[in-house]
Symmetry: C2
Subunit: 236 residues, 2 copies
């Protein structure tokens, strides 16, 4: 009756998988714009400012560090450190308030460790920035390995970043599960690498449809704790 | 008896004048080193790490953003984003906890405004960074003007930065008081600009002795609220 494969490792994406990064980013940017308006940014309302800011974020990328400077520029304002600082303070305070793991995350990670699974993170981004999130989420003691694209020189959906992680834990792809929210990076990448892909329906990618067979997740879950029953099934 | 000069404006330094930046910097760095050791930095104790870190801060300046990377380098460690992120998180959390105005600051500023004085800040540093401090201290609504060296292109003790501030408030130097902790920047600069210099005995410069006549403060105070009696005397 089919070959018996024991799952040895469970890998996770960070953003919109372990915490609600879509809400965090939205609220942080809204509050930043609000604080900037209160400090003199000439805008009629927060929504108008938020939409302009999102155009800047999409154009320059989310790791660019002059979003607020650009917002002033677009509005034809002189550079004003008071307005920029008001935005920075509000952004960071909001970020910290929302940088909490989703409620089922810690119990699920504990249950997985109790059952003997190795746990890892495979994430795209800047290493220090991603580690800051893991530490602020209070999750840094749960993972056996953390692999971030900046250090590997390979980004999801490339298979290399998944292979580096598998090798570090000495696990074959078919012995590993990967959980993420993004079809184009997480699911496509895990499938290409030969891992068991699990899509978590969260955040801004929740409504997306797979563009092709390789983007189809093996399983879909609504919350992280649903993982436990899937693993039970896979190990039967 | 003597000419009657009404004081119109009171200017302030920020660090170690409005808040205890010496303690903040020390505790933030100590806690950063502690967190880095807990994350694997090979050091026998926090003091050893703190002393190494201070050598790096003194060599590269306090606005350099790779202090922790350099600390790993000096210790012969590979670059480790987990250790660096642990330091960054502890540093920022400690900084926020200590970024509070000294207890007498807000009542003193309110009393000064009630008496009709114009209030200003004259500070060396990066504009957004200094504004972030002012906002986090909750003092941004008290000041009529804030002049920071990055925008003026002149640093204390140069007279230009003082002159820019005086001009903005349309005040003559002899109608203005400047309060700061540092003899070499605050007091020398205010004296050269012809303002009434007041030294506040706080922070790491507390024990310093004036090197020459131009570094001698007109008055010395122990806490900001002592300003009120000096101004009373000056206006008599």
């Amino acid at each position: 009756m089919g070959k018996q494969t024991k799952i040895k490792a469970v890998f996770f994406d960070i953003d919109d998988t372990l915490f609600d990064s879509t809400t965090l980013a939205k609220m942080a940017r809204m509050n930043a714009v609000k604080a900037m308006i209160e400090s003199g940014l000439p805008l009629a309302n927060v929504t108008q400012g938020y939409n302009l800011l999102m155009k800047i974020v999409n154009k320059y990328g989310s790791n660019y560090d002059k979003h607020f400077d650009k917002l002033l520029e677009i509005l034809g304002c002189e550079w004003d450190p008071k307005i920029i600082a008001a935005g920075v303070v509000a952004y960071h305070d909001t970020k910290q308030a929302y940088l909490k793991p989703d409620p089922e995350v810690v119990p699920t990670l504990i249950a997985l460790r109790d059952k003997g699974y190795k746990l890892g993170i495979i994430s795209n981004g800047k290493s220090v920035k991603q580690w800051e999130k893991i530490i602020r989420l209070g999750l840094h003691h749960f993972f056996d390995i953390v692999v971030i694209s900046e250090e590997v020189g390979s980004e999801k959906p490339d298979t290399k970043i998944f292979e580096v992680a598998l090798k570090k834990l000495n696990v074959e792809p078919y012995e590993a599960v990967y959980v993420g929210d993004n079809l184009e990076t997480d699911i496509l990448g895990a499938n290409k690498a030969g891992m068991i892909s699990i899509r978590i329906l969260k955040g801004k990618h929740k409504e997306g449809k797979p563009a092709g067979k390789m983007m189809k997740p093996r399983y879909s879950i609504k919350k992280l704790s649903d993982l436990l029953s899937i693993l039970k099934k896979l190990d039967r």
